[in-house]
Symmetry: C2
Subunit: 239 residues, 2 copies
């Protein structure tokens, strides 16, 4: 354990974080019990507890009384849902389908290279994807990935990409997405984008740029999603 003069619970936290990043503790599985961990680390329960609490706070773990503490998988559908409220007649969430339309290799421009932490001109995998509900396109997505990590995607038939990409990355490329940061902005629809989204050119669209990262915070995917701004709604609490 890195013995800086940090509080013990923070050093515990860092160590547990490293275990997740290293894959020792896999998403969806339970971590060892409090008794085991306190014994292993040689600390009191309260201290361990505090470390775990910060990880729960950050959304990396989930505790469940009587069952255990689990590594959480980030919920990206929830993200979409924070901004666009697509519900069916029963008020249940509707997750749009995803279909890859374009897939090729290209060289990274400035923006993409910056986002992925690569040199400009580095080889990247490019995907274009539409996300639909009831056959209607809700989002148009452009996706860039480092070819060195995601080369397997170049040999797969675009039609064979699953509905969800992140489990696919995990299976095909062994790349785990642990977190992401998204930046929203507003633009107006070009003719091409308007056609795709069935809106009028010049109408406002929401552009969501996402940098998805591994559990060790390495940027793995850069994604730009564009959708009609009409159904966009976002709620914030201020204190």
């Amino acid at each position: 354990m890195t013995d800086m003069r940090l509080p013990l619970y923070q050093r515990l936290r860092d160590d547990m974080l490293a275990r997740i990043a290293a894959g020792d503790w896999a998403p969806g599985t339970a971590i060892p019990t409090e008794a085991e961990l306190t014994k292993y680390y040689g600390v009191a329960v309260g201290t361990l507890r505090r470390a775990v609490e910060t990880l729960v706070q950050d959304g990396l773990m989930e505790r469940s009384q009587g069952r255990g503490t689990f590594i959480r998988r980030p919920n990206f559908d929830g993200s979409l849902f924070r901004f666009f409220r697509h519900v069916d007649s029963q008020g249940e969430r509707r997750v749009p389908t995803g279909r890859v339309m374009v897939r090729h290799e290209e060289s990274a421009g400035r923006r993409v290279a910056d986002a992925l932490g690569l040199e400009e001109g580095a080889s990247v995998v490019y995907l274009e994807r539409v996300r639909q509900i009831d056959g209607q396109t809700i989002f148009h997505e452009q996706i860039w990935l480092d070819t060195r990590r995601f080369a397997p995607l170049l040999t797969v038939d675009p039609a064979d990409f699953g509905n969800l990409l992140y489990p696919f990355y995990e299976q095909q490329c062994g790349q785990l997405i642990g977190a992401a940061e998204e930046t929203l902005s507003v633009a107006t629809a070009s003719q091409a984008m308007a056609d795709r989204l069935s809106i009028d050119p010049g109408q406002p669209v929401i552009v969501i740029e996402r940098i998805a990262k591994g559990y060790d915070a390495t940027p793995l995917e850069f994604r730009r999603s564009t959708g009609d701004a009409g159904p966009f709604r976002y709620r914030v609490d201020i204190t």
Copy 2:
């Protein structure tokens, strides 16, 4: 103390919350020390601590080692700043000036009545306000307030409203704002709005609807702010 079968630390939390709402503990001042509070409540420090932690978490208190624990004032400029990055050449935040242009009494429509928890047609104070940086209008604001609580505002010369409204509410009407919820959406500028914001009609605008509440969660103010969507940017972290 309400002796439900809630955990002790939650009951402590509720009691402290009530003290803030009642004005026993004023924003900006320190609450009693841990020693006093544990004695008063008859609980262990750890338990009191946990209660305070949840309040810190919710942004209602701030702890400072060696100094004490303080009731926090909500920072609404920070809110604006989360969405629009107005900085000067040194990279410092620029808070727009505020000027009340219109002030009268009217009867609440559906939307306003709902937001403020009033009956439709109830009397409300209506304000129209522009917020500017370097003489340029950044936001146009419409504000509605329950006349029963904010009647003093009707007798003030609109020019005498201060740059900031919440301290003014506090001084003139004894109404303390403790929190708020904001909902963002996108619209297109009408001719009138475009003129006010110096943009072209039909260009996208961000509409921020805010319901500001007292420390006891009573809705006190309903505000609709409209600004150019061009400089809008919002960042979210997903886990």
